[in-house]
Each structure stands twice: as structure tokens, then as C-alpha cells.
């Protein structure tokens, strides 16, 4: 963390820079803490997220606010300008009020984290370690979107900016340095990945979708992302085939043209409900000569199976059924789980990095407060003993000299701790008793009044 940045951040906080410990707090619920009925009720739309953040800041509960809301989690992050033990409770009350939910309904279903634990939680979320589907990639995009919206709305400040930038960095590192996000975790994705094992690049390839199952649509989604060239939908109901083809961006074909449709595609996806196979070995064998022996990948998503099991032996026809795909998903889940310790280590490393930065920020604030306090004492002394009613004897030149000397004395006193905080990064971690130092020197606002 460059020194200039610390100073900029501290000064940009205005009075906040003079304050004590800045604490990150969060409350929220996810798929592990709350049932879907409750998660539905506490979800924030993007507009609601911005509204809640603005209200929280205006009410003075927190200085910085940000809401992360996805299909599996709703979380409210806040930063208070000074240590406030009741902050999570205040956030909880607002959370309940905003969604018009009684607090007792939230009890035990909403988690609260403060400081290190809040930081760690966000970093785990961004890494996909807290996701229902371990290591899923979407969450990082959702965190980025939530942050960008809040940043645009001006509801974040230096601490949340740093925290969320750190979270995005952790998310990227975990995905690039571990296998947590690698390999398919859904049946649809596993099917497409297997097709890639045969053909390599799927760009410009041809696919036929037989039937109209929901998983088949997911397969098409993945194929589209990979630039599939031609897509044909064959269904018993031609109207339904047309509807699907329109939605998927392909062409519809009559059920009677099914066998003819097998002659061109590289990938065939079947998802038909019915007790009898719709593709037989004989049909595929008849299609092979017209294909000039080109390989075909048949992804059978039907239960019962849509492709006759005997078709497995056809030369250059690769057949994968739902059990094959399920086994791959299970194997990959275990592989991802084995990466949790490595991902956790990266998260912990960044948590320490953030906390060190936070401590340095507080250190800069402490020095600033000390300087301000000493200057106030200096001015009071000069007014009382030199420049005031009792000290009229001092002439202007003498007064100016005294002011210069006392100012220099204060600068010399604060110079050393300021310099050490700037230069010695290691010093920042042990200086965790900054609150005690503030108390010792009476640097908090309340102390001034007491004095």
C-alpha cells in the first residue's frame, strides 16, 4: 500500500480519518442459513439494494454501505466510522424493517460477522467457497456488479472500495491458481465438455436437439457460448420444435425427418420423455455412410434412455448417457473439494493483507489526531501565557518565533511515529492496540469533552 494512498484515504475520510477503529460488519443469509422461502423475501432488486445503502448512510448508522443480493444470498455490508458493538444489531433491525419481516423470524437464519470474520466471509463468497455449487464462476460477476452499482451510487467509501477490490482480486486468484472452478459441475456442461474432448473447438460445428427437455436447453446454452454453427430442433410436436428453435436461435424440423437429421450434425442431444428409445443402433448406422465416417457425439439426457444401448459399439459414434455425465460431475465435485485448502490459504493471505492495510489506515489517523491534539494544546498555551490578556508583554516578533518553535517541536514529536508507520510495513500488524494508544493520549472526541 503506497504511503500516498494511505494519506489520501485518511484525508478523504475528513473527520473519519481522525476517528478510531473502522469496522467492517455484515449481516445476511444464504442457502445454508435460511430456507428458500425466507431467501425469496429478503432478496434485493438492484434498485432496492441502492435504496437500502443510501438510507443506511443517511440514517447515520454506517458511513459506507453495499448490498450483495443473488439467488442464493442477500448480504448487507457496512462500515462504521468508530467501534460500535451494536452495529450488527442495528443492521439487522434495518434488514427486518426493509423487508417487513419480524426480527424473531430472522433469528438463527441470519448470520452476522464483524471485522476479520466479515472480510473473510466476503473473500470466501467471491472465491466461490461459500456457493451452493462449489467454485461456481457466476458469483464473482455478481459481486463485481453489486460493487460497481454501489460505487456508481456513491454509497461506498475507501474501506468498502478496498474490501471489494480485494474480494475481486481473491476471486480471480483462486480461480486461476486452483482447480476449484475447473471442470464441469453440471450434467449439461459435462456433455459439452465431452464433445470438446472429441472435436476440440466447437465453433462452427452442427448440432441437433431431439426433444425439448430443460437440460437440453442448458446444453444449447453452453454450445451457443462456444460458437456452435448450425442448430436444428426436432420434436414430436412441430409447433413446440418451432417455438424452441426460435428461442434457441436454430431451425425446426418435423419428427418424420429425424433420421435424415442424423446425417449432418457433429453433436446430437436427446431429451425425450418416453419409454422407448427414439434413436436406434440401426438408425445411427444408416446415417454413418452419409457422414463419411465423421465422428458423432451423442448426448443422451433421457431417463429412460433415448438411445438404444447397443448403439455404443458403432465405430466413431461416442455415446454418453445421464449416468456417464453424472459420474463425471461427481468426480469433478470431489476434485473441487480437494482444492478447498489451497483456496482457503489464498483467502487467508488476502484477509491478512486487508487487515494490515486497515491497521495502517488507522495508524495514519492516529498520527493525524495526535498532531491536531498537540496543536490545539499549543494554541491554548500560547493564548493563555503569551498572546492573551496575561501575556501582553510579548511583542509580535517574539510571538511569531514562539509559534514557529512550538510548531517545529510538534512536528518533531509526530515525525518519528509517522515515518515508522510509512516505512515499516511489519510495524502495522503489531500496532493493533491503536485504540489503547488513542485512549492513552485522549484522542477520541468524547475525551476532549471530558477533559
Amino acid at each position: 500500500m503506497p504511503t500516498e494512498r494511505i494519506e489520501k484515504v485518511a484525508s478523504s475520510r475528513g473527520e473519519g480519518g481522525m476517528r478510531g477503529r473502522v469496522e467492517v460488519a455484515l449481516i445476511g443469509c444464504n442457502h445454508t442459513s435460511a430456507p428458500v422461502e425466507l431467501r425469496e423475501r429478503v432478496a434485493f432488486t438492484p434498485e432496492q439494494a441502492l435504496k437500502a445503502a443510501s438510507e443506511l448512510r443517511q440514517s447515520g448508522i454506517i458511513e459506507e454501505a453495499l448490498v450483495v443480493s443473488t439467488c442464493n444470498r442477500s448480504e448487507l455490508y457496512g462500515v462504521s466510522g468508530e467501534a460500535n458493538e451494536s452495529l450488527p444489531r442495528a443492521l439487522m433491525s434495518y434488514f427486518g424493517e426493509f423487508h417487513k419481516i419480524e426480527l424473531h423470524e430472522l433469528d438463527g437464519r441470519v448470520y452476522q460477522h464483524v471485522g476479520r470474520y466479515a472480510v473473510r466471509h466476503l473473500f470466501r463468497v467471491a472465491s466461490g467457497l461459500d456457493s451452493m455449487l462449489l467454485g461456481e464462476a457466476e458469483i464473482l460477476g455478481q459481486v463485481r456488479e453489486a460493487y460497481n452499482r454501489a460505487l456508481g451510487n456513491g454509497s461506498t467509501g475507501p474501506v468498502l472500495n478496498r474490501l471489494f477490490q480485494g474480494a475481486l482480486e481473491v476471486g480471480k486468484r483462486v480461480r486461476s491458481e486452483t482447480e476449484i472452478g475447473a471442470r464441469p459441475m453440471s450434467v449439461a456442461f459435462a456433455g459439452v465438455k465431452l464433445a470438446e474432448r472429441i472435436f476440440g473447438d466447437l465453433k462452427g460445428r452442427r448440432a441437433v436437439i431431439v426433444g425439448a427437455g430443460a437440460v437440453a436447453e442448458q446444453v444449447v446454452e453452453h454450445l451457443r457460448l462456444r460458437g456452435i454453427g448450425e442448430l436444428r430442433v426436432v420434436n414430436r410436436s412441430f409447433a413446440r420444435a418451432q417455438e424452441l428453435a426460435l428461442r434457441m436461435g436454430g431451425a425446426a424440423a418435423e419428427w418424420s425427418a429425424l433420421e435424415k437429421s442424423l446425417e449432418q450434425p457433429d453433436i446430437i442431444v436427446t431429451s425425450v420423455s418416453g419409454s422407448e428409445p427414439v434413436l436406434t443402433r440401426a438408425m445411427l448406422e444408416r446415417a454413418m455412410p452419409a457422414r463419411a465416417g465423421r465422428a458423432v457425439c451423442v448426448i443422451d439426457l433421457g431417463v429412460p434412455r433415448n438411445v438404444e444401448p447397443q448403439a455404443e459399439g458403432i465405430y466413431n459414434a461416442y455415446l454418453f448417457n445421464i449416468d456417464h455425465l453424472g459420474e463425471i460431475v461427481e468426480q469433478n465435485r470431489k476434485a473441487r473439494e480437494s482444492e478447498i485448502p489451497r483456496a482457503g490459504a489464498i483467502v487467508d493471505e488476502h484477509v491478512e493483507k486487508f487487515l494490515a492495510w486497515q491497521t495502517s489506515l488507522e495508524g495514519a489517523g492516529l498520527v493525524q489526531a495526535l498532531r491536531a491534539r498537540l496543536n490545539a494544546e499549543r494554541e491554548a498555551l500560547l493564548t493563555a501565557h503569551v498572546g492573551g490578556a496575561n501575556g501582553a508583554s510579548a511583542n509580535a516578533a517574539e510571538l511569531e518565533r514562539l509559534e514557529r518553535l512550538t510548531k517545529e517541536l510538534i512536528e518533531r514529536i509526530v515525525q518519528l511515529p509517522e515515518k515508522r508507520l510509512r516505512e515499516r510495513r511489519k510495524l502495522r500488524r503489531p500496532v493493533e492496540g491503536l485504540a489503547a494508544l488513542r485512549e492513552l493520549f485522549g484522542l477520541d472526541a468524547g475525551d476532549e469533552e471530558k477533559r
Partner: protein
């Protein structure tokens, strides 16, 4: 005679292999790049080791098993590097580099402790004939490895139970393309190398030794690989059958390189 450059090259190859394996299991940009860079470093050290030997014997190393195998290992690594850069696939490196290491270790182990003698035959044309001939063998060796990977991957796909490394190897069609490229390089090299041999022999003796078993086996190698290239895209052959044919072809290459050289030919030694 083993020199320190051989040992240095061996070290580079071994570390490069470690990085290729690391890249296979945990694909990282840095590990893949390190593997390639170390392979290049190994090639450079190996080149200077070969150059050093050539300076001593005033010819391309072909007259003893050490020189021939060392040159083969170098050309194997060089051909693989070319394919890696062409197809942008590193996974195969973890299977090719061990072969390079194996050949080099054997070469170092069998090297005589005394200084090698200058062979009777030398000259630029002769050197090209040998080098290009061994390049062809190296390219066929790589196509053999690629075909083996194809067959294993094909089997895994058919069983539908892929393991961790499975996702890292190139797709079947990519393996087939790489194998075709490799056979293409091998065929061109063999045609050019053999032609240069004929020209050199004609200049020296005034006739062509067409009845030499080595020449006949070379023509057989040319024929089987030409057949492979011709049928690799034919409906009945494309895929696993072509890969199997390519793998089997290499048995003839090995036979020609070892048994024929040692027992059947009079003037072809270790190449």
C-alpha cells in the same frame, strides 16, 4: 565419451519434464512456459554437445550408437517443439520428453570412454543425408506417441470414465491433426534424406545400391506412411483405426533403425 554439455542438457530435459507434468495436472500459464523454455534450453545445450562431438570426429555423429541416439533424441525434442508451437498444445510434452530423456540417458550410458574415431564417410551432403534421415525417424516416433494417446483417449471416452489428466490432453481431432502433421514432416524428411543418400552414393561409387536391405526397408517405411496419409480421412479408417495403423507403422521404423542397421546392411551403421 560424456561431456558436461550432455549432462546439462539432461538436467534441462528432466526439469522440463517435471514442469510438463505439473502443467498437465494444474494448468498454469507459468508452468507451461517454464516447461517449453527449459526444453529449449535443453535443446541448446544438447546442440552444443553434438557440435562438440562433431568437431572432434569432423563428421555428423553416425558411426557409433552413442552419436546416432543422441542426434535422434535431439531431433525428437526439436520436432516436438515445432509441433507444440504449431498446434499450441503442451499436454503431449509430458509423454514425449521422457522419451528424449530415455534416449539421451542410453546414449550417455553406452558412450565409449575413449575419444571417438573419425568415420570414413563425411562431407556436407552425407551429413545432410544422415541428419534429415534421423529427423524423419524422430517425426515418426512422435506420430507414434500421438497415436497412442489417441487410442487411450478414445478408449476412455468410450468407457465414459475420464480421469483428471484426461481433460488436459488435446481432443481426438487435434491429436489426429498433430499426428498427420508429424507424419507429413517425417515423409518429406525421409524422401529428401533418402534422395540425398542416393546422390551422395552415386557421386562416390557411380551406381545406386538399390538392393541394400536398408534401402528396401526405407521404401517400405515410405509406403506404409504414405498409405496412412492416404486413408486417414477415408470413412472406414478415420479415427481409431488410422491411429492404430500409424502406431503399427512405427514398428517397421524401429525394425529398420535397429535390427536392419545391425544385422542386414553393410554400409548403413547407426542411422
Amino acid at each position: 565419451m560424456t561431456n558436461w554439455l550432455d549432462v546439462l542438457a539432461l538436467c534441462f530435459y528432466v526439469v522440463s519434464f517435471a514442469f510438463y507434468v505439473l502443467d498437465l495436472y494444474h494448468e498454469r500459464v507459468w508452468s507451461g512456459r517454464m516447461a517449453t523454455l527449459l526444453l529449449i534450453a535443453g535443446l541448446v545445450a544438447h546442440y552444443y554437445a553434438l557440435l562438440e562431438r562433431s568437431r572432434i570426429i569432423h563428421a555428423i555423429p553416425y558411426d557409433d550408437l552413442y552419436g546416432s541416439m543422441s542426434l535422434f533424441a535431439w531431433l525428437l525434442a526439436l520436432t516436438y517443439l515445432g509441433l507444440e508451437l504449431l498446434h499450441r498444445k503442451r499436454a503431449v510434452g509430458s509423454l514425449v520428453v521422457p522419451f528424449v530423456i530415455f534416449w539421451l540417458i542410453v546414449a550417455v550410458e553406452v558412450a565409449p570412454s575413449s575419444q571417438p574415431h573419425a568415420p570414413a564417410a563425411n562431407g556436407a551432403l552425407f551429413a545432410l543425408h544422415i541428419t534429415i534421415g534421423i529427423l524423419a525417424y524422430a517425426a515418426f516416433a512422435i506420430s507414434f506417441l500421438l497415436s497412442l494417446i489417441y487410442l487411450i483417449q478414445n478408449r476412455i471416452l468410450r468407457r465414459g470414465r475420464p480421469g483428471l489428466a484426461f481433460w488436459r490432453f488435446p481432443a481426438l481431432e487435434v491429436l489426429e491433426r498433430m499426428s498427420r502433421s508429424s507424419v507429413g514432416i517425417g515423409l518429406v524428411a525421409l524422401i529428401v534424406g533418402t534422395s540425398l543418400g542416393f546422390v551422395w552414393e552415386h557421386r562416390l561409387t557411380g551406381h545406386f545400391a538399390t538392393a541394400d536391405p536398408k534401402v528396401l526397408f526405407t521404401l517400405l517405411v515410405l509406403a506404409v506412411y504414405a498409405i496412412y496419409l492416404a486413408i486417414v480421412r477415408a470413412p472406414a479408417w478415420r479415427g481409431a483405426r488410422a491411429a492404430l495403423l500409424c502406431a503399427c507403422n512405427f514398428v517397421i521404423v524401429l525394425f529398420s533403425y535397429t535390427v536392419v542397421n545391425l544385422y542386414f546392411t553393410n554400409f548403413h551403421r547407426f542411422f
